[in-house]
């Protein structure tokens, strides 16, 4: 009996939930930290550094770049092509993400809610297909669709000879990206709509609320958080999307040159790596500001 009450020898147990202790816990997360450091943090810092140099792809500055301070940034603020790229990115985000993917995704989710499971699964499979195909494959499909000679769209409309990607490049990109990204919004809204209690929808129906009144008074208040989160994600993805380059290369005459495409063109066509890094950093700042606005809106809800 006396031995049972003697203290058990050994290390004092760790006080965290998993019982690992700080040392071993750090061991577990170290590989992840290494990867994040090597592929995310280091390149980001490197981009910021290059952004204040006159580093170029070729020539003297490629070998020995010199620090130029903020002159890349002042150049960007006065660069008409950069202004153009910013404007086109806003049009692209507003048209294809905030309006296109959001509205189409929600509409599909709302309609699919009441359809038979077989129909729903088929539609979901097709929409998801657009989402999971590699960008290069999808871009090739859409180039074929919009093609001037023998393109599918011209074949459907009987407008042979219309060069859609040259005559209406931004409209084509908006349609393309809406098609490409709607799956995410549809899936997210499908699950969000399941969180709306059926009895609340039926209550609205019992008092004779119209479809729009039901959406406004019952559905949207329930999924407001989902709408904000979804809009944030698809806005950022669309703003940073590079696949427009695969369709139009930014042309004709910079008419579809969104910021990521402009960065690529400045860096690899123009060879101005320092300047393109500065613009990249500006894009990062813009993304950060948009995120902060969304987060503030989200917090106001609770």
């Amino acid at each position: 009996m006396t031995s049972a009450s003697a203290p058990v020898r050994g290390r004092t147990p760790a006080r965290d939930v998993a019982g690992l202790g700080v040392g071993r816990a750090f061991g577990f997360v170290a590989p992840a930290f290494l990867l994040i450091g090597a592929f995310l943090i280091f390149p980001a810092l490197w981009t910021i550094y290059i952004g204040i140099t006159n580093y170029r792809l070729t020539g003297v500055e490629a070998v020995s770049p010199s620090i130029v301070g903020l002159s890349n940034y002042t150049k960007a603020l006065n660069d008409a092509l950069f202004h153009n790229a910013l404007w086109l990115t806003m049009v692209f985000v507003l048209g294809s993400a905030i309006i296109g993917q959001n509205v189409l995704g929600f509409t599909l989710a709302w309609i699919m809610r009441r359809t038979r499971p077989a129909v729903r699964r088929t539609v979901e499979a097709f929409v998801l297909l657009a989402w999971i195909l590699p960008s290069t494959v999808v871009a090739y499909l859409w180039v074929a669709f919009f093609d001037r000679d023998g393109g599918t769209l011209n074949g459907l409309l009987g407008t042979q000879g219309t060069a859609w990607l040259i005559d209406y490049p931004m409209a084509c990109l908006v349609v393309f990206n809406t098609w490409r990204g709607t799956a995410f919004s549809m899936m997210l809204y499908s699950s969000a709509l399941q969180a709306v209690p059926p009895s609340q929808l039926e209550s609205a129906r019992m008092v004779g609320a119209s479809g729009w009144q039901t959406l406004r008074d019952v559905v949207f208040p329930h999924i407001r958080g989902h709408v904000l989160t979804n809009t944030l994600l698809i806005s950022l993805w669309t703003a940073n999307d590079f696949s427009p380059f695969l369709l139009t290369k930014g042309g004709p005459n910079h008419e579809s040159e969104t910021v990521p495409v402009y960065i690529y063109n400045v860096a690899l066509q123009g060879g101005e790596l320092g300047y393109s890094s500065a613009i990249s950093f500006l894009l990062l700042i813009a993304n950060l500001l948009v995120s902060l606005v969304y987060l503030r809106l989200l917090r106001r809800r609770s």
Binding site: P197, S199, E202, S203, M206, V207, G208, A209
Partner: protein
């Protein structure tokens, strides 16, 4: 005025289940009407079909003698309170109550007047600015009732109105609900699986099973004279004893032999030697003292369960267990031999095959 007439109503789900199966029912104006049955019996589907949330496959629903079978729920003049109350969490009490008026684009000033008045009727004063999450279960239910009343329907439908409340609150809400219905005089149909709730609240009860009506009557009729063994089994907090029996003598008072002895039965329509099911409620059996000359049951006490003011004693009568309630402090000790008697008017005879009530004399007034 605003009665409900249901004729040959059937609601069939896409998978072929006939949830409501050819039902005829009349609910009178101002009546408090219960749809009672076990889960899956079709009572909720019937309520939802009256509301218009489910489409009737056959038959008609008339409210206030107008055919509403094909009308949208919002056009039927029907208000409904859902089991989970379905309050809108982002609206405060006042907005919830007046939502039916907002849908009809009633002016905000009129709406706030209605909110104040209705909240007064349902003792919700001082809670108008609160959100539903800040209310107790009983208050939430009253807000849901207030919203239904504010919509000024001719008929009020309640889906399991008391099931989301805890036991203590349930009793309070039951009294409140009954008084409210009396005061408003609005035709009310409610669904419940709890027979005690139906007996306590309703003017009339429809007992349902498998989408069909099994009995329709006042709580007293349904309790004292269940018209078949299904209803007999379902109604009553202590289940009715259903014993295999055989009619032995046929006169003004029949005698039926059952395991452990015999019982008298006031019936004239059953021939001697007929095989029947004998139904007798534990409340109507008495533990007799002294010698008994008439028909009686004899057996040994197996177990006694305390129910508060009375005890449920289970007696083994020749291998068949019979329940009998006795007043507190009068319970026989387990193992002792007892004699049980019952008044002839309380003994019910059911057809052994169909389970339908055989005796057809006027219902005794208890």
């Amino acid at each position: 005025m605003a009665g409900i007439d249901i004729e040959g109503l059937a609601t069939v789900y896409p998978n072929g289940v006939r949830a409501v199966d050819g039902l005829d029912l009349h609910v009178a104006d101002g009546e408090f009407f219960a749809l009672l049955g076990p889960s899956g019996c079709g009572k909720t589907t019937l309520l939802r079909t009256i509301a218009g949330l489910e489409a009737a496959t056959e038959g008609t629903v008339r409210i206030d003698s107008a055919d509403v079978t094909r009308l949208e729920p919002g056009k039927r003049g029907v208000a409904m309170v859902f089991q989970d109350y379905a309050l809108f969490p982002h609206m405060n009490v006042s907005e919830n109550i007046t939502y039916p008026l907002k849908v009809r684009r009633v002016a905000p000033a009129t709406r706030s007047g209605v909110a104040t008045r209705t909240a007064g009727e349902l003792s919700l004063q001082g809670l108008l600015e609160r959100k539903p999450a800040q209310l107790s279960g009983g208050q939430q239910q009253r807000v849901a009732l207030a919203r239904a009343i504010a919509s000024e329907g001719k008929v009020l439908l309640l889906d399991e109105p008391l099931s989301n409340l805890d036991a203590r609150l349930r009793l309070e809400a039951r009294t409140f609900l009954k008084k409210l219905q009396r005061d408003l005089g609005i035709t009310t149909v409610f669904v419940t699986h709890d027979q005690a709730e139906a007996l306590a609240l309703a003017d009339r009860i429809a007992v349902m099973d498998s989408g069909k009506l099994r009995q329709l009557g006042s709580p007293r009729e349904v309790f004292a004279r269940p018209s078949n063994t299904f209803v007999a089994n379902f109604i009553g907090s202590t289940p009715m004893n259903l014993l295999p029996g055989k009619v032995t003598s046929e006169s003004d008072i029949s005698v039926v032999s059952v395991p452990g002895g015999s019982l008298p039965a006031a019936t004239v329509s059953v021939p001697a030697d007929a095989e029947v099911t004998v139904g007798i409620r534990p409340e109507y059996l008495t533990v007799a003292s002294g010698d008994i000359s008439g028909p009686a049951l004899r057996g040994g006490v197996v177990v006694a369960e305390n129910l508060g003011t009375q005890s449920l004693v289970t007696v083994d009568c020749d291998g068949t267990l019979v329940g009998v309630t006795v007043p507190e402090e009068a319970e026989p000790s387990p193992g002792s031999a007892v004699v049980l008697t019952a008044p002839a008017t309380r003994v019910l005879l059911y057809d052994r095959e169909s389970g339908e009530l055989l005796a057809r004399q006027p219902a005794p007034v208890a």
